[in-house]
Amino acid sequence: MSEDDLKRTPLDAFHARHGARMTGFAGWRMPVQYAAGPLKEHASAREGAALFDVGHMGQVNLRPRSGRIEDAMLALERLTPAAVLGLPDGRQRYAVLTNDAGGIEDDLMVSNRGDRLALVVNAANAEADVALLRRLEDVCEVEPLGRGLIALQGPGAESVLTTLGAAAGGLRFMDAASLTVAGVAVEATRSGYTGEDGFELSVAAEHAPALAEALVEAGAAPGGLAARDTLRLEAGLPLHGSDIDAGTSPVEAGLTFAIQKARRAGGEREGGFPGAERILRELVDGPDRIRVGLRPEGRAPFRAHVPLFEAEDASAPVGEVSSGTFGASAGGPVAMAYLPPRLAAPSTPLWGEVRGKRLAAAVHALPFVPHRYKR
């Protein structure tokens, strides 16, 4: 895909003004880093406040034709093992969309905004997700939105918003509400994908640049995709397309928290989602492989697809790294991998083959860096 074919978020000029290096990502022209570099941008999110353009992600509203939000909630439950019914007005929940084989088509956030469900889905899957969601058109209007989306992440995020006049302190983790930030109307959620406290701000495209500049003025440092990746990896959060995909079940991925009791065997709305047979079976019998954290002992990162062995001289791999990088806050390389459950206990020793050499590593509990959500 040539540079000209890439879609641009409303913050394209903002990135240029702040010295970003741009790259193609999921069909979008996105900042990979700014002049500060990924390590400093990562530190901003852990210690202060970092601003990420996540306007490439898909924002979709589901509006119940009946006017009853419960109808939209039940409709969405046809596509996900999450319990959506019962999500209170003004609350957000993580969910996966599954396929008939029990794999994960995408993962998303869904908020109950009273009259509608507001979804945020991955950029790479947005078109496919909208096609999938159109199956619910008997019950809902499906509205893809052309809005900007800004993630403000870090322990300083709340004070940045407060400085700009927003009543951000009224929200706790996974709350959703309308706020006015620097005079701009935003749909805010207190969430993100870095493991830190923070907010995601959905904003009309024409107001996104002014909002981003105001956030920077108030102390937020812009961060790119590279820092976003190291932050989410340290936080143990899977990336669709790397750590989870259409072949991975949510049980294998360790995402059973996103399958509430109501949808499990014996629950009041048991099953009724794609791949229920496999997923409900794995919840009882356990999966054949499971997502784990992995810490290489040396300084060399284990990247995606590094094969893992039980012994330094073993011939057949027992698993594979799904994503890996250098974790600045963890103080060394960190990775996620899939292993048989018998090898998934923390501290289990393993060997990864990197450039023809077997390097030592150990299973590590996720996350690598503790979550600091404001619950």
Binding site: V32, L39, A227, R303, T325, P333, R355
Partner: protein, 119 residues
């Protein structure tokens, strides 16, 4: 100073070249977090992989632009990979190599040609 199309620089002293990566390469890599150097005494043919450089984003290699034997390595960049971003064309040299044939350097890019390449 000579340059390669793979963004390495080389300076010659007698029959020994000092090799590093250019400022442009360091900027493109972003923050360097891990470096694996060869051992003194290792011999390399043209094109052979000599070093690995891992940035936050990805792994890349330095391949031998000229053939020779490693005479010295810069342990300082192994201990502190960030040096590569701070001073790539100075303190953060990678290794020194004794050349079999000094004349091959004439085939590499001069500064003007390298600048034209990266512009």
């Amino acid at each position: 100073m000579k340059f390669t199309e793979d963004h390495e620089w080389l300076t010659l002293d007698g029959d020994v070249v000092t090799v590093g990566i250019t400022l442009h390469a360091a900027e493109q890599l972003g923050d360097v977090v891990f470096i694996e150097l060869p051992e003194v005494g290792d011999e390399f043919e043209v094109g052979a992989e000599i070093c690995t450089i891992e940035s936050v984003k990805a792994a890349s290699e330095i391949n031998a632009a000229v053939a020779g034997e490693i005479t010295e390595i810069n342990e300082a960049i192994v201990a502190n990979p960030a040096l590569v971003n701070e001073d790539p064309e100075g303190e953060a040299w990678f290794f020194k190599m004794k050349l079999e044939d000094v004349a091959v350097l004439a085939d590499l890019l001069d500064e003007e040609a390298y600048k034209a390449l990266i512009d």
